[in-house]
Symmetry: C2
Subunit: 110 residues, 2 copies
Amino acid sequence: MRVDRRRKLERAGWVVGEAGDFLGLSPEERQFVEVKLALAASVRQRRERLGLTQLQVAERLGSSQSRVAKMEAADRTVSTDLLLKALFQLGGSPRDVAKLLIPKIRGRAA
Amino acid sequence: MRVDRRRKLERAGWVVGEAGDFLGLSPEERQFVEVKLALAASVRQRRERLGLTQLQVAERLGSSQSRVAKMEAADRTVSTDLLLKALFQLGGSPRDVAKLLIPKIRGRAA
DNA sequence: TGCAAGTATGTCTGATGTGACATATACTCC
DNA sequence: GGAGTATATGTCACATCAGACATACTTGCA
């Protein structure tokens, strides 16, 4: 994990461990955070792939640039509801969400 | 769709069409509702499979029986955050969520 | 260097979600 | 029929999340 990314997560209120990430969270909490991080990353990826600014996305969503920034940062004040709605607005489907949640790397635990 | 189930959804605030379900919703809204309904159904399924009452699940979650009932009814006052947390508490994983979101039926549109 | 565009962060007010409780309904079993 | 258990529904007070705004930071370019 890149250092700046890690700092950002910590500022956002997450506790980020070094190797065994997310230490200090219960398994359930860890899974929830995982999902949220995956959704947030996907929002950013889709936006960039579409060549849109956060402001443009915000307009599509009827939201604001700052909120889009917070979505992508997985800020603790953004709900998964909002992340899902954003993803769908950016052309994603439930199937795409599913793909996000399935680990692609083989030979490593979960 | 069973009639009683449909009535329940309508009371919960969803607009449910007959054949082409979810008419009147934008594609994005429809996708969001789909996800929520899938999560809600999964919560019920897992609870029943574990042989737990809503009250027992509520205690595990630090919530109340009425809220669990609303989760399973996909009430509009329950967030996907809560549904995800409930699922994970009931032993589900992000991978299980992914499976929920992938349509299993072939030969029919989405 | 300065400027401009994009992004990040802090905070406000109003909207929505939350657990809790009361109560209604449904289903057994006696 | 009534009692007991499970689930559903309506409502509260409080917590959390929403968009909006101001403002700071970052990046690229003249």
